[in-house]
């Protein structure tokens, strides 16, 4: 792996931030709008007949859920959207006609996902503090653990959607937006797992983020994080990430069998 090629690819996706409102709105505008919307909705819900402590827990849980959902969303978007960006720009052949290796491309998109997610968090964390006095740092040392687990989830979602696009062509690009959406109702992001219908709960139990959001709510309620939950979450993430990466590489090999020219 060559650092100069990873640097080149990072520049490729950082330069447009200077002038592309689409990218900035994905990173800044929509997360802030979500924060405002969910914060106000949470405040309204919590004011309806609950005591002050319970109301506070509700709003903090919703906003923390929102912040870590953005970590998943941005991490997956950097993997899959960066691939789509090359396809939309008619640049895929150009890139893979250079010495660039697939593992270097993968490393650069993972690095970009951390950089861009951090930019989003740098805005969201102060926003929820100033708007709703919700302090993300109350999660303490668990923040990097939750961040890592949700980032891993974003990565495997990204590799699966990028793999589907490489396998079936740009007509399948809708998976980039729809696949993460499947996780929303099953991951117990904004509500406890127990609130889900019993028939759906087994599905939620095989999704790694369910354990992270459950752990996060336990912490917010003053409880202790269950180590087995974290172990299951990381275990599932490692298995899914391994499968997603294998699928992506297989899809890449398949697309070179048909030729990257079919994406022009």
């Amino acid at each position: 792996m060559k650092l100069h090629r990873i640097k080149a690819l990072c520049l490729r996706h950082l330069y447009p931030l200077k002038r592309d409102f689409d990218l900035l709105s994905d990173m800044i505008y929509w997360p802030l709008i979500d924060t405002l919307l969910w914060g106000v909705t949470g405040q309204w819900l919590s004011s309806a007949g609950q005591n002050a402590d319970e109301a506070r827990i509700l709003i903090v849980s919703i906003l923390m859920g929102l912040i870590f959902w953005n970590v998943i969303w941005r991490s997956q978007a950097e993997v899959s959207r960066n691939l789509m960006d090359e396809i939309w720009n008619n640049n895929l052949i150009n890139l893979f006609s250079t010495p660039l290796r697939v593992d270097e491309w993968v490393t650069s998109v993972l690095l970009l996902s951390v950089i861009k997610t951090s930019i989003t968090l740098l805005l969201l964390v102060p926003a929820v503090f100033f708007l709703y006095t919700v302090n993300v740092f109350q999660l303490g040392w668990w923040i990097p653990v939750f961040f890592l687990s949700t980032t891993m989830t974003g990565w495997w979602l990204g590799f699966i959607s990028a793999g589907i696009v490489l396998r079936y062509g740009p007509k399948a690009q809708t998976v980039i937006w729809t696949l993460p959406g499947i996780l929303l109702p099953f991951s117990a992001i904004y509500f406890p797992l127990s609130q889900l219908p019993a028939v759906i709960q087994p599905i939620s139990r095989i999704i790694p983020t369910t354990y992270i959001f459950e752990s996060m709510r336990t912490l917010i309620q003053g409880g202790m994080v269950r180590p087995d939950y974290l172990a299951i979450s990381f275990g599932l993430n490692i298995v899914f990430l391994g499968f997603a990466f294998w699928f992506f590489m297989r899809s890449f090999a398949y697309s070179t069998k048909l030729g990257l020219g079919r994406f022009n």
């Binding site: 080149a8 690819l9 490729r12 890139l95 006609s97 250079t98 290796r101 990257l260």
Partner: protein
């Protein structure tokens, strides 16, 4: 001469799209080589397999069978190392449109390991040569097709590669700029001994630039020779006579001799075997047909292209 690129038995068969359909052979067992510093033309009608061959030579399409080696190294096993010295430019492939010219060129220079300082000096040199230096801070979507093509060429030559694959680099250019591009390619070849594989639909351009031409048809190489020899292989010439007396007799006489003739005002354009011209003119004189001017066009590469491009089925 060092062999820079060696292709042996290269074949690409696309699997059948649907059940009941046959697999499609795009490139069929082709073999050729390029020596250091050679400019080779890759010609053929649409669908002959030129782009498929170039895609396999760049590794963005896997071959069904056959072997590609650059600089004596197996391509598939040394892809990244080999491609560090092989670049590519095509009129039909673009660069990210939201990036400026310099941003794009810098990214590609870095991909080939060119330092920032070297990049700056080479980018200035090439963009100035192509007359687009004042466009360097514009985003790609603000450039004309011709300007983009020239920037793609700069992208290909900034790393000082040993081999450049150029896919119709002058397709969208005005004649003066196309001439400039040809001069540039020749200059790079002379200065750095760069080998070039060049595809174009402009036969004069290929005849001017390339010392050898590979002619592809239906996935097979049907000719591999110099442009002159390919043209000469036709034997047919076009002879134009300005007839003073006997225009009708010329038409009749050519028909008798089974020769193709086109009449335009007083001119008769006759397609004839070069070696029969003298005999034909003697016979014409014996028929009492007189002419005031004669022009003989020997066969060109374009004539060769037209003669062999007709599909066989």
């Amino acid at each position: 001469m060092n062999k820079i690129l060696e292709v042996t038995g290269l074949t690409k068969i696309y699997p059948a799209e649907k059940k009941g359909k046959k697999p499609f052979t795009a490139v069929d067992n082709i073999s050729f080589s390029i020596d250091e510093g050679q400019i080779i033309g890759l010609l053929g009608p649409n669908g002959a397999g030129k782009s498929t061959t170039i895609s396999m030579l760049l590794g963005n399409l896997s071959a069904t069978s056959g072997k590609i080696s650059y600089f004596g190294k197996e391509f598939n096993e040394n892809r990244s190392e080999v491609l560090n010295q092989v670049t590519f430019a095509s009129t039909y492939i673009k660069m990210p449109w939201r990036l400026t010219v310099m941003e794009n060129l810098r990214i590609y220079a870095f991909l080939y390991g060119v330092s920032e300082k070297t990049f700056q000096s080479r980018a200035k040199k090439f963009l100035t040569f192509f007359g687009v230096w004042n466009q360097r801070d514009k985003t790609m979507n603000n450039l004309s097709a011709g300007q983009i093509t020239r920037i793609m060429l700069a992208k290909a030559f900034i790393p000082h590669p040993k081999v450049v694959l150029l896919d119709e680099p002058t397709a969208s250019l005005d004649p003066d700029i196309a001439h400039q591009v040809r001069a540039f390619v020749k200059e790079q070849q002379a200065e750095y001994n760069t080998s070039v594989l060049y595809t174009s639909h402009n036969m004069d351009e290929v005849a001017d630039l390339c010392e050898r031409v590979l002619f592809l048809k239906e996935g097979k190489i049907i000719a591999n020779d110099t442009p002159e020899k390919l043209a000469q292989s036709l034997n047919t010439a076009h002879m134009t006579l300005r007839i003073e007396d006997g225009l009708k007799r010329v038409t009749r006489f050519c028909k008798e001799q089974s020769l193709e003739v086109e009449i335009s005002k007083r001119d008769a354009r006759i397609t004839i075997d070069e070696q029969q011209i003298a005999t034909f003119l003697i016979l014409l004189a014996s028929e009492g047909i007189t002419y005031s001017q004669i022009a003989i066009d020997t066969p060109t590469l374009e004539d060769y292209f037209l003669s062999v491009s007709t599909p066989t089925s």
